[in-house]
Amino acid sequence: MAEVDEPGKPLFAGLSDVSISEDIPVEGDISVPVGSQNVDDVFSTLDEPVKDTILRDLRAVGKKFIHVMYPKQSSALLRDWDLWGPLLLCVTLALMLQGGSADSKEDGGPQFAEVFVIIWFGSVIITLNSKLLGGTISFFQSLCVLGYCILPLTVAMVVCRLVLLGFTGTISFIIRLIVVTASFSWSVFASTAFLADSQPANRKALVVYPIFLFYFVIGWMVLTFSPSQ
């Protein structure tokens, strides 16, 4: 708290109407509390129950999901990035794509790993590309945005599985094609809404193109999924 002490006030009373700041002596000590420097306070979240931590993280993830589904020009996704959401989405997508091989002997193994590797290495390559083109976004922020924007394709995967349960043949293919195309364009649009701002204006197309390819490949995997009989 600042204390302004003017011991010579009666002396300068006559000059009070003249606003010359250097004539008025200001004394006292200004001590701003830097906050209790005890190191333990920084880790106070260690003492809370696990349920609180999980719920807080889930709420943060859920809030980011909403940001992806309604992409506005907000920086919430970039400011506090986290990789929980992308991990959840990636694992969900990889699990749902798992039952699609016609050979039940080698079910699961290669497909889960392939989807996982493609998503994460694709994101890393796109991030490196945008950084090399002169982007101002950090590595993990970009990974976070790309991972969260897989959400529409995961939703499309769920819808496709339901459609495959109900319909067969050309109709199901057309429905699935429409759904996957819509969600793929939503993903590209959402991720460019977040990522394109960090690029210089004339290079946005160079950054958007690999994102387009990335979601195209994932959308292709979703579309060509056919469950084993």
């Binding site: 080698e106 392939e114 590309n129 090399l132 002169g134 390819l213 292709w220 995997m221």
Partner: protein, 340 residues
């Protein structure tokens, strides 16, 4: 100690440190770019940046530990001194380890090394894509090749995507895992492997071309492959494919050949180099269109034999020549298996 050295520098970009001039800690000493701050000597810039950051951190740490010293020392007395000592040692070890790790990281994982190869505008990329189909006429002096990696990298990924799309429209439903892996492996293997091979040949034939330029040239040559495959995977006419193969593939090959000829002297070296690149370029396209899913099917069919095939295929109408090719490969594979 580094803090006191830093105080001597008056320029905002750090000035000439002794360490900088001697190049300590830098794997590559780029002498000619010492005073060029436009970013071309990346290791030095990274080193300077890292040192400036460290100086700030060290002064901040010193200020923080001074406060802690004052508070804890007089409050906790003797025990406080020991705790203080332990904490300081731990801090020093942590700082030293962090400094080593970040130095190593800045040295070897510095992606800034690749930054100048990605310095392009969309207009430039578009122009280079179009130019890759136009053969040049002047072969008397070396033609300029743009040394960038963005265009070729994106073309390789596009080729992968088109191959995957082609698998779907041709009706083959193979296990997705192996399909993706083979597509990426094929395209990247072609780009990197054939570039290295032609660069090696160019070294033998005394051609004036660097590895980067070779990668760039071959990468842009993949544009014709992408176009042709995209068209023919959607329009299933084999005669159309042959025409496109000759015309578009030929144009792109002629461009690469002309550029290489302009950079080589002597008839025989030119012949070797250009013949090799023309052959590999055209044959790769043939392989991608026909063999990538046809011969693989044939081989799998032969190898798996009486077992129930795990792959479900929808047969296409094949012209007789492809039937002949398929039958030849099948008989060859069967003969190979019988002779083993």
């Amino acid at each position: 100690m580094s803090a006191s050295e830093g105080n001597k520098n008056t320029e905002p970009w750090g000035g000439f440190d002794d360490n900088l001039i001697q190049g300590t800690g830098s794997a590559v000493i780029d002498m000619e770019n010492m005073d060029d701050t436009s970013g071309s000597s990346f290791e030095d810039m990274g080193e300077m940046h890292q040192r400036m950051k460290e100086e700030e951190e060290v002064t901040a740490e010193a200020a923080a530990t001074e406060e802690d010293n004052g508070n804890d020392g007089e409050f906790l007395g003797m025990k406080g001194l020991k705790g203080q000592l332990g904490r300081q040692v731990a801090d020093e070890v942590w700082q030293a380890g962090k400094r080593q790790a970040s130095k190593a990281f800045n040295l070897y994982a510095n992606i800034d090394i690749l930054r100048p190869y990605f310095d392009v505008e969309p207009v430039q990329v578009r122009n280079r894509l179009i130019e890759s189909m136009i053969p040049i006429r002047m072969i008397n002096f070396p033609q300029k090749i743009a040394g960038e990696l963005y265009g070729p990298l994106m073309l390789v990924f596009t080729l992968v995507a088109i191959l995957l799309h082609g698998m779907k429209t041709s009706g083959t439903v193979i296990r997705e895992g192996t399909l993706m892996g083979t597509a990426i492996g094929t395209c990247f293997g072609y780009w990197l492997g054939v570039s290295s091979f032609i660069y090696f040949l160019a070294y033998l034939c005394n051609a004036q071309i660097t590895m980067l330029q070779m990668l760039s040239l071959l990468g842009y040559g993949l544009f014709s492959h992408c176009l042709i495959l995209f068209i023919t995977y959607n329009v299933h006419f084999h005669s159309l494919f042959y025409i496109l193969w000759l015309v578009i593939g030929g144009l792109s090959t002629l461009r690469m050949v002309a550029v290489l000829i302009s950079r080589t002297v002597g008839q025989t070296p030119r012949l070797i180099l250009c013949g090799t690149i023309a052959a590999l370029h055209m044959l790769f396209l043939l392989y991608l269109h026909f063999a990538y899913h046809k011969i693989i099917e044939g081989i799998l069919d032969t190898l798996e034999g009486p077992n129930a095939p795990p792959i479900q295929r929808v047969a296409r109408d094949l012209p007789s020549i492809v039937n002949v090719v398929n039958a030849t490969v099948k008989s060859l594979a069967a003969a190979a298996m019988n002779s083993q």
